[in-house]
Symmetry: C2
Subunit: 462 residues, 2 copies
């Protein structure tokens, strides 16, 4: 049995599953029409028939006319959503993205009911979700039946190499990207064979939109012009790490195809040897951990990363050199910082202006001449007492302030109240890693699977 | 008694001393004429009558005609020198500067007998020493009798603040500079009052030479155009530290004159408190010490400084941050380096090119892809094993090579044979400081008398 057949056996929904989902969707659409009188569409993988076995997240979009005011759309959207769910005997709650929507569980299916404006190709969108029905239309218009399994293979491949998901947490490949790639290249194999030699930035412009100002996509490794909106990069969220993971995995798969590429290694904590080798790096790990706020991952992760960047910047500014920093939020959000230099002398050297610069000399001497000042190589040098001799003391001092002050210092608003007066962990971090399996697995992934080496190792194993 | 009278009492040669020196000099010149048939001049402070009590270094220059070939000048210079010394019953030896000369002790006087070419104002010099007779001429032509004591005061002031001596070791003010400054301003007080507000670069062009291209004196804090050679800065050797010392001391003396400025504090080792406070800086001192080579200080010090710079550059390149470095050579030459970071993790982060740069990516991956490579913020990052985890191991490895290899690595030629296979001192450095009084005094000066604070403290004390 060839690799792809083997994989499809596992990921393609059975005839029975397909029929069951289709029946449910038809009923959902019919109830929706009755309740709202609006056209409804099922977007996402269910609507495009590209879903993977067992993956039944259903997105029902209710299409309002552009003349309906925004407030009215939000109010009616929630009202219709609630009634549709009631009608079908499910349980609903309200969730918030750009505007509120209904999230429900109906007979075991996760269903989101989202109001949007009906727009035409090229028309300006009114709310962030308005494009989805056009994406659906585009894929359904162009996809050939034989391509559906190819899309499934590509999605599963991205999952297997850990590059799937266009959410803020994963910053990887969305289902829509996989669909567009198969539309562009024709098959999974063709995508993989092409991607193996992609160099960033790789630009795909399926509709051959002319006059797209590409400089707007600067620093984005993968640019896929949205067929329904020439000004948008469908792959804007794909970061450099996931892009290179995909390219490297594609190259390695082409060299030596194997089912191993399609399935992520099971989560597992660091081995005793790996744990030891982390401790033996001779670096210092510190971590700041706090309780999980009640916000969605798409808000949590960006704020967590901004906080991490702020701490890294703070440390570097004070000459504590950071080797790596990473963010974890499977259970309790944790910022992990690995330091190259974490302890510094009590004396700090301030290199001042050249003695030839009169204005700067005056300023420098006004500031420092109470301490020890000397001239070296025609520059002023002052020695001052260092306030924070350790990285931990610096971080603790930074966090030791009420939330509004933390916000001023650059900690994003949802996290400031949770980080206020937190203390950085040192030795306790290792105890935590031993105890917290998801964190341990995260450390294993971060430290023991480089972009280049991972795929190689994997290819070698299968 | 006012400050200057008090100082002059100590530094002005007595009538008896003056007469004795003059008699000796007349005899020396007369013997020189008889032996060589050449005109001889006594240059330096003795020739200009500006010497300080007890300071009897006598420089006799034998003036050869420009038509005499260089080799002949050197041969005859040594021959005449030897015979003059014999005639006067002294002991002579040969020393080497740009060309060889006779160094002698005659009846307790240190006498150097140096051959030079007679040149005229503005004429191109043939050997480095040819200018000295013109300097003598210039000073004798313009100095007024009342200025002689003023020059003595200024010289002694420079000695007192530790800024005297135009040799490579001291990089300070020469006697000739002091003479020119008094000629320019008229008196010691006038020099001091003017210097208190000097800003670097301060330019003095006594002869109002026009068209001197000043950019040639870039980075020189004090520029005194040589009255006998418009292309030369008499103060080229004065470094920024000594310039600022002089300016600061002048300002402080103007505010509050005191005899204390004229006399260096007696040499003394670090106090127990100072010793402790050096150790409590939280830094790491390492030192490389070797036996003194048989070369003059004017060669030793520049080579010592170049070696020190090379070591500092080496350490910084390997991320061991240097706080201060200084060179000592009173007895055994010693390079002292104070480190802010002296120990680093076994893992080293190599930040590579942006993933967008194809050529550099290829080079980077070719070099590092065997180890751990990942992508962060759209850049390649590799982790490699650090070869030297401590500053000491790095320095020892650098020095662990035969002299020709050290020379290739940038260690100057006279020092390479002495530094080969040397080991840097760590703890032993402190033991050495305790034992070696001159070294201890040197550390005290370097660390407990900043440019700004020293003069202030001194002014306050007197």
């Amino acid at each position: 049995m060839d690799v792809k057949t083997e994989v499809l056996k596992k990921i393609k929904p059975s005839h029975e599953e397909s029929e069951k989902v289709k029946r449910f969707v038809q009923q959902l659409l019919s109830v929706s029409k009755t309740v709202s009188g609006l056209d409804g569409v099922i977007v996402g993988s269910i609507g495009k028939f590209t879903w993977l076995a067992g993956d039944h997240d259903i997105d029902l979009f209710l299409m309002f006319d552009g003349s309906v005011p925004r407030e009215e759309l939000e109010r009616l959207g929630l009202e219709y959503g609630k009634r549709i769910v009631q009608e079908l005997g499910g349980k609903s709650s309200v969730k918030y993205a750009e505007h509120p929507y209904t999230s429900a569980t109906i007979r075991g299916y996760d269903v989101d009911i989202v109001p949007c404006y009906r727009i035409k190709y090229g028309e300006k969108i009114k709310s962030a979700v308005d494009r989805s029905p056009l994406h659906l239309r585009h894929v359904l218009d162009y996809i050939k039946p034989a391509m559906i399994d190819e899309v499934r293979l590509l999605k599963q491949f991205c999952k297997g190499i850990g590059a799937y998901g266009s959410d803020a947490k994963n910053q990887g490949f969305s289902g829509y990207i996989c669909e567009l790639l198969v539309l562009q290249y024709g098959s999974f194999d063709a995508v993989i064979s092409a991607a193996g030699v992609w160099k960033p930035p790789h630009i795909i412009n399926t509709e051959r939109h002319l006059g797209v100002p590409l400089h707007q996509f600067k620093d984005q490794p993968l640019v896929i012009i949205d067929p329904v909106d020439a000004g948008r990069n469908v792959a804007a969220v794909v970061n450099g790490e996931n892009f290179m993971k995909f390219v490297t995995a594609a190259k390695n798969y082409s060299d030596r195809p194997s089912a191993g590429f399609f399935f992520p290694r099971p989560k597992k904590p660091l081995s005793a040897l790996q744990f030891k080798s982390l401790q033996n790096r001779g670096t210092k790990f510190i971590a700041v951990r706090f309780s999980k706020p009640d916000i969605i991952d798409d808000i949590l992760y960006p704020q967590l990363r901004r906080t991490m960047s702020r701490l890294v910047q703070l440390l570097e500014h004070h000459e504590f050199h950071v080797l790596r920093a990473c963010e974890f939020a499977e259970n309790q959000p944790t910022i992990i910082i690995e330091l190259e230099v974490w302890s510094l002398p009590s004396v700090k050297k301030m290199t001042g202006p050249p003695i030839f610069s009169e204005k700067h000399t005056e300023e420098f001497l006004a500031k420092y001449s109470k301490g020890s000042v000397y001239v070296h190589d025609n520059r002023w040098v002052a020695e001052v007492q260092r306030k924070h001799k350790t990285a931990v003391s610096l971080v603790n001092d930074f966090l030791n302030a009420p939330p509004p002050v933390l916000a001023e210092r650059g900690v994003p608003k949802y996290l400031a109240p949770l980080l206020t007066k937190k203390k950085a962990m040192e030795k306790e971090f290792w105890k935590l890693v031993k105890k917290d399996k998801p964190l341990s697995d995260y450390m294993r992934q971060k430290y023991f699977s480089g972009v280049v080496s991972e795929s190689k190792a994997k290819a070698g194993k299968n």
